[in-house]
């Protein structure tokens, strides 16, 4: 079961023949992911490391029956590649690229509306269902299959949380990096909803950050919809009071976006909070015992 990806996932990589795209696609394949193709305009018809290459995503999907795409295209062109995947009706698009202009992502967000695609990221480590399928740049070996779902805006901090779980022999159902950009494809609530419905997931770790109101909205959603325990950490309590524009999103919503304010709302909504990032594994162990 798990969520989003499993052993039936058929992956294509857009930007397969680039250095990063190639390296991480092979790493994912070594982990067990079924990589069925890649896209690099101009290199269609060639084979890269045993993987057939196509000129367009449309063609790649038609020929391989791919149901997931991983985006490894440089920032100036990444939004175009995401829109190409939406047009090709790829159900799951995972964009690893960091540094896409916000204006481009606003257009992507518009294109996603009413489409058949879900976008994870950009600027994220990807998604992994341990033991079945890895799409992204996370180190596969720190994970183990199990019952804890992980959602995070950060990369290495997610590895830290996963590592703490695995050290305690607590496995993960699926780990999802939703990305650190201000405009992204999938938010905390959408992933929480998937975990709530997934019979394999027994508890969830949610790792947030200062800025924006995604965690606050998620907290309110958890209070009314979530039956499974959630443990949360918000990074940035010690960060200096940001340049004021970092708070623009908060002006609009009227919510405070500091770590302190987010911890408070999470706690009020029944989420178990970890004040220290080193306590995530222990807190999950505690809620699982209850």
């Amino acid at each position: 079961m798990a969520i989003l990806i499993n052993r039936n996932t058929r992956l294509i990589t857009v930007g397969l023949t680039g250095k990063q795209g190639s390296f991480h696609t092979l790493q994912s394949r070594d982990y067990g992911t079924n990589v069925v193709g890649g896209v690099t305009p101009g290199k269609g018809g060639t084979v890269h490391e045993g993987i057939p290459v196509f000129n367009t995503t449309f063609e790649a999907v038609k020929e391989t029956g791919a149901n997931a795409a991983m985006i490894f295209v440089p920032p100036p062109f990444a939004a175009d590649s995401i829109i190409e995947c939406i047009d090709a009706e790829v159900p799951l698009i995972i964009a690893i690229t960091e540094g896409i202009p916000v204006a481009d992502m606003i257009k992507v967000k518009g294109a996603l509306k009413g489409s058949k695609s879900r976008l994870i990221g950009p600027n994220c480590p990807g998604v992994i269902t341990p033991g079945e399928c890895k799409i992204g740049i996370m180190p596969g070996h720190i994970h183990m299959p199990g019952n804890v779902g992980v959602i995070s805006r950060s990369g290495t901090l997610t590895y830290e949380a996963v590592y703490q779980l695995t050290q305690r022999e607590i496995g993960q159902s699926t780990c999802v990096g939703i990305g650190g950009d201000p405009v992204n494809g999938t938010n905390f609530i959408e992933v929480l909803e998937l975990f709530e419905k997934d019979p394999e997931t027994k508890a969830v770790i949610m790792i947030g950050e200062i800025g924006g109101t995604a965690e606050t909205e998620a907290a309110r959603w958890i209070k009314t919809h979530m039956t499974k325990p959630v443990v949360s950490f918000i990074a940035g309590a010690a960060a200096p009071k940001g340049k004021r524009m970092g708070h623009a999103g908060a002006i609009i919503s009227g919510d405070d976006d500091s770590a302190e304010a987010k911890f408070k709302i999470l706690q009020e909504c029944g989420v178990t909070i970890a004040r220290s990032p080193a306590e995530l594994g222990q807190k999950i162990a505690e809620v699982l015992k209850k």
């Binding site: 916000v102 990369g155 200096p240 524009m245 220290s276």
Partner: protein
């Protein structure tokens, strides 16, 4: 990226957004020349620094004669201007903007920002011009009127009407305000701004709608397609260390504490500061070496951390995913040897090739305190910094 008010206003003119006539000056004599070239007998002399609150800090003066223009320009140029956004050390003023005076009828607020929760651009206006918008949002949020703009439709007359009527404008003034809003939206989208803020936006006794002040920020990720904006960068406004770090792909922010931090990944770097604070320590910096760090970038990171004389201990916290622990370990050892590192060094390595990384550290002959996990690392770093005091 930030620009000065005079640069923001140059851009606004290009988009037919009404601003006062004015010009920038580096010396008092130049300021007088600018004033002479402008009609009228009242001028405003404004300090050009990347911070708000300039008026309260004494950086904005009304001059009623050319002599006063010269006098105020002399006072302001070279002054260390302190505002609530500059920090206690203030910022040195190198340029002034000299503008025509105008007869203000009413002051308003107008701003454009990204609304992250919906992934759309929002324009906000308020009748509470001249006040900090955060204060208005906190005390009387109902006085902020917003219009979300769908990227498919762009800015429409309907948006303009909603905002203009909300300010109580009518007739010709309303039409001028609508044109102002539309121009600002065009500037925001065409130049990839991340914020546009006009505070105050004013109506004059003669019925004009003008930007009295103007603040623009730009999306760093989009600068590749705006060389004309990149050319406006004022490096004197940016921290030398942060700029240098940026050249090596390092993300560095200086803080007030005494524990230097070297971490990979922004989230883990933030979490490292948090845990240091939880154990009673104070971080000296935020430093993310990124995913593609090499031996050289690690060395550079050390040299930037050590430029801060407050640093009493260094904590290296690496979760090697793509980045391999042995590479980091080699970088740490080389940097420590070459720089004759004298402050205590606590290193926590985890992830890919961790055993090899730990071996390199222990065989280096250097006095490195190894840490087993995140909490252990933070506790040891805090103890080391205290011991050094």
């Amino acid at each position: 990226m930030n620009v000065h008010e005079y640069q923001a206003k140059e851009l606004m003119r290009q988009f037919n957004i009404a601003v006062l006539k004015g010009g920038v000056a580096d010396t008092p004599a130049e300021a007088v020349e600018v004033a002479k070239s402008l009609a009228g007998n009242v001028w405003v002399v404004k300090a050009q620094i990347h911070a708000g609150g300039r008026g309260k800090g004494g950086g904005v003066k009304l001059a009623r004669s050319l002599e006063e223009v010269e006098k105020y320009a002399k006072e302001i140029l070279g002054m260390q201007l302190i505002t609530h956004q500059t920090g206690p050390e203030g910022k040195k003023v190198l340029k002034v903007l000299v503008e025509q005076g105008c007869d203000i009828d009413h002051e308003y607020y107008c701003g454009i920002v990204l609304d992250r929760s919906v992934g759309k651009i929002a324009m906000m206006v308020s009748t509470e011009g001249g006040m900090e918008i955060e204060t208005v949002a906190h005390n009387s949020p109902e006085k902020i009127i917003k219009a979300h703009i769908d990227p498919a439709t762009g800015f429409t007359s309907a948006h303009g009407r909603k905002l203009g009527y909300a300010l109580g404008l009518k007739g010709e003034t309303l039409k001028k305000a609508m044109a102002f809003f539309e121009g600002l939206y065009k500037l925001y989208t065409e130049k990839d701004c991340s914020i546009a803020e006009i505070n105050p936006l004013v109506t004059t006794k003669s019925g004009e709608v003008l930007a009295l002040d103007g603040k623009l920020n730009f999306d760093d990720n989009a600068l590749f397609r705006h060389p004309e904006i990149e050319a406006m960068r004022d490096v004197t406004e940016e921290s030398a260390q942060e700029l240098e770090a940026g050249k090596y792909g390092l993300s560095y922010i200086s803080l007030d504490g005494n524990i230097g931090c070297l971490v990979n990944g922004a989230g883990l770097a933030m979490a490292t500061l948090d845990i240091l604070q939880l154990f009673g320590g104070t971080p000296a910096n935020f430093l993310d070496v990124g995913g593609g760090a090499t031996k050289e970038t690690v060395q550079k990171a050390f040299s930037i951390i050590l430029q801060d004389k407050n640093v009493k201990a260094i904590l290296v916290n690496i979760f090697g995913g793509i980045m391999k622990c042995d590479i980091i370990a080699n970088g740490v050892v080389d940097a420590a040897k070459e720089m004759n590192l004298s402050v205590p060094l606590v290193v926590r390595l985890e992830g890919t090739n961790v055993a090899l990384g730990k071996k390199i550290l222990s065989e280096s002959g250097l006095k490195i305190t190894p840490a087993n996990d995140l909490a252990d690392a933070a506790q040891k770093a805090v103890a080391a910094a205290k011991g050094a005091n």
